[in-house]
Symmetry: C2
Amino acid sequence: MISTSAEHPTRRLDDVIHQRVRFGILAVLTEADRADFQFLKERLGLTDGNLSRHLQVLAEAGFVAVTKTFEGRRPRTWVRATSTGRSGFNNHLVALQEIIDQTKAGTK
Amino acid sequence: MISTSAEHPTRRLDDVIHQRVRFGILAVLTEADRADFQFLKERLGLTDGNLSRHLQVLAEAGFVAVTKTFEGRRPRTWVRATSTGRSGFNNHLVALQEIIDQTKAGTK
């Protein structure tokens, strides 16, 4: 049993970002400039409803911006991470890296 | 926009393990041999109800084992990660590390 009762780094993780589907959306959008709805759906294995619901949570938090364009008469929905979203996601990865390193050190 | 539509590694993340509170519980239990209920509660900043609920989900998945002991007349609840829980959590960290490294490479 470890002796410290200090706050655990998982307490710094943002639930809006950490949730698995939203974590995936932000990971894809951090790798890419922008992605369209169909691409996100296929890459993350989501239904329309599930992706829409999580995009709404991310948009309300200011982490993504959604824009609609038309290619001819075909509508296309584009999603990109905002700068707040990018920095929030990067901070999240820093916290996760800390937890990974701490766990590795603890099990050595 | 990236060209591949291959499956994203977040699809390999187990929701039982990934959820922030349960991720924290497993992180603490992987660092320690075992932890008591009170310690987990304080370190993770949880209420009794919240910790109990998430421990039940982890126990039902076979990831933690809960035992009750008495110290004199005072009951104490101990929690430890099972070997399934430890290997599940370690695999989870491997997937997270892959996502972190992939994101870093993509933003270079």
